[in-house]
Amino acid sequence: MAIVNRAEGRAYLTPLVGFLLFFLGFPAAVNLVYSISTVSFETLRSPSLSGFGNYAAVLADHEFWGAVSFSMRFGVLTALAECLIGLFLAVFLTPLLAKRSYLMAPLMLPLMVAPAMIGLMYRLVLHEFAGPVPYYLFEWFGDSPAFLDVDNAFRTLLVVEILQWTPFAFLLFYMAYAAIPLEVREAASLDGASALKALWWIEVPLMLPTLVIAFFIRFIDGFRVFDNVYALTGSGAGGSTTSLSIYIYQAFFKGGAIGKAVAASVVLFLASLAVLYGLNWITGRGRR
């Protein structure tokens, strides 16, 4: 017997659906209207429909594609590095954490800091005259590289992002690794599998759904990066560190090109949706 009947279920769900429609559906609908309108801050309440010119302008803008390229490279590289380092840490630290679980807390600390604060922190840490990193490099080697100049900014931003978010991947992998039944490992051991073979042929395949999900979550987060990049380098010299989110922000607020900015956000939304469907398809296939 069902705990609640269909009508009651609808009644209980109505407030949630209403909430979602209002707080997510309404802005989405406004976005769609703005994306096909000529609109400025003066005409926010009376946009005039103008077709798909904003989309054409966005797709013809080389800065948009530069931002897409930055976000794509940033998303893929950070997600890959975080997952690889996270997996390495999970495998090697599991025996230690099984005995000293309190070590998990400091490992999770970077996750507790807001990305914008991380950006500000590294602005200080890497400053030639105030930061400890350049200070010791000068002390030991007599020189320090320009961490945030146009040649190194991308690499520095990658490292900052990876240092903050690797614990997230590590946490997921640690839970997945610890959840592998002991009998499976014992059976592999009895069959003579080395630790490396057991990892590659048994443990990693069993962790695969978690690996895929972690990669995509981290890719999405990396792709839409804004806070720490904006705090550290802004959009960079000549726009060299303009992520897609920064592109949208600048087009909207700095350039006043509301229609174009919103059209770019719709493109980002559709791309994100495609990634999510892909993720759903991959994990669904894994379950079958």
């Binding site: 926010l44 030639e128 945030l148 802004g234 010299a237 726009g239 060299s240 600048q250 607020f253 700095k254």
Partner: protein
């Protein structure tokens, strides 16, 4: 019955929560510039205003502050949405054109001109109408190390080395000079002389600290250099002139100094705070920086390494003399203000001599007419220098108060930093800037 009482109490609390904001609106709410001396001065001034006997409770002033980061973006979103959460809002010279559609002009009375001077009142005008009371003026000082420059001037071997460096890097015959009579070439030669990368015997690591981050405010710092060579955004007919020789000279000089190692390697990520830290460390000989930094850079507790040996002069001269970018912060009337009458009353009071002097004594930086500034010269000698530089060298570029002025600065920041970083040629940077400015400044 108990339930009814509870419900009644809840309803009363709900009603009270709805009614209370209504009560609080029976005041004048002022949205000020948060943090720093501006907030301190405004708080003290408002306290004095509210303490006056002739101010009705309904016209007393409440202050509202939010974060500086993205302040103008948030303000724009609020005002475009028709917000009435504040009656009086902050406005800056470079953003008047953008906010004017959401504000109302205000008549400050004839005495305002005597307090501030007409040129300063103009920093708060758009289309010939007064949109605010000028509260703080910003311009740039050239900060320099007196001890280093004095030592250079007294040492013949150092002078010889200086002349060699000037000839090699700038192609000019130059001798060290007193900073108050520097041209930009003199300054450039000095910065090269004091850079380890150029002169291994330099007592400091860098000759200067250039603010080269892709940030609109850095363009304000930079543009006094081309301005002193005659640069302007447009000519009299409105034609964009950013591709002038003056701009080319300024841009090339910045790049030359950066490439030569006269400024820190990370200068392309430097803005106000980084510049203060670099100069304050004692490892830079000069810094062109906002006047607001003077209080910190000359305070021995805050900047012990250089406070006692820091000198301040106006920016160096070019062929057209000296030029110093000025812009004002001020307070104006929100078109959707709930208490317009009270707001106008406060703004008119703020433009009186008594209020301006109180604001100055409380730490603000108003640009006052000479005879008014003389009344606070003992407590605030820096205001005398501020007024002097503003009146002698202050300028506002053609179009720099237009609706898209901020976007023009943004565009310049992106293109110019692209050139300095070596990502594009000077010709491409100027061509892109010109095309963008033509679009942004067209009527």
């Amino acid at each position: 019955m108990k339930l009814n009482r509870t419900s009644f109490s809840a309803a009363a609390v709900l009603l009270a929560s709805v009614a209370l904001p209504g009560i609080s609106h029976a005041t004048v709410t002022v949205l000020g510039w948060p943090g720093g001396s501006e907030e301190t001065a405004l708080r003290a001034t408002v306290e004095a205003y509210n303490a006056q006997s002739g101010i009705a409770d309904a016209d007393k002033v409440e202050l509202l502050f939010f974060n500086r980061d993205g302040f103008f973006d948030k303000l724009q979103a609020d005002m475009a949405a028709g917000s009435d959460a504040f009656d009086v809002n902050l406005v800056a010279t470079y953003s008047i054109g953008r906010y004017a559609p959401y504000m109302e002009p205000v008549d400050l009375g004839a005495d305002a001109g005597k307090v501030f001077g007409e040129s300063v009142l103009k920093t708060m005008q758009f289309d010939g109408k007064q949109y605010g009371v000028p509260t703080d003026l910003s311009l740039h000082f050239m900060y320099y190390r007196k001890d280093l420059v004095d030592a250079l001037m007294q040492d013949d071997a150092a002078k010889k080395k200086y002349a060699e460096i000037a000839k090699e890097h700038l192609g000019k015959d130059l001798q060290p000079k007193d900073p108050d009579s520097w041209t930009w070439d003199d300054w450039a030669a000095t910065t090269l002389y004091f850079s380890k990368q150029v002169n291994s015997e330099s007592p400091v690591r860098y000759g200067t600290v250039l603010q080269m981050k892709n940030l609109l405010f850095n363009m304000m710092v930079f543009q006094s250099l081309p301005r002193s060579y005659g640069a302007d955004w447009t000519d009299k007919d409105g034609n964009v002139t950013v591709d002038s020789d003056a701009y080319k000279t300024g841009l090339e000089l910045y790049k030359k100094l950066y490439d030569a190692g006269a400024s820190p390697k990370d200068s392309l990520s430097y803005e106000y705070a980084e510049t203060n830290a670099a100069y304050g460390s004692g490892q830079a000989a000069t810094a062109l920086q906002w006047n607001a930094a003077a209080a910190d850079l000359t305070n021995a507790e805050k900047t012990p390494a250089v406070a006692a040996v820091t000198g301040i002069v106006a920016p160096p001269a070019g062929p057209n003399g000296r030029a110093d970018h000025i812009h004002g912060l001020g307070l104006g009337l929100n078109k959707n203000a709930k208490n317009k009458e009270g707001a106008v009353k406060f703004l008119k009071w703020l433009a009186t001599e008594d209020a301006a002097l109180l604001y100055a004594r409380s730490g603000g930086s108003p640009a006052l007419a000479p005879d008014v500034a003389a009344k606070v010269s003992k407590e605030r000698p820096d205001l005398v220098k501020l007024g002097e530089f503003a009146s002698q060298y202050g300028y506002v570029m053609n179009g720099a108060t237009s609706a898209n002025a901020l976007s023009v600065y943004e565009l310049q920041a992106k293109e110019f930093t692209g050139y300095w970083a070596g990502q594009q040629s000077l010709e491409d940077a100027l061509a892109h800037t010109k095309t963008g400015m033509q679009d942004l400044l067209k009527k």
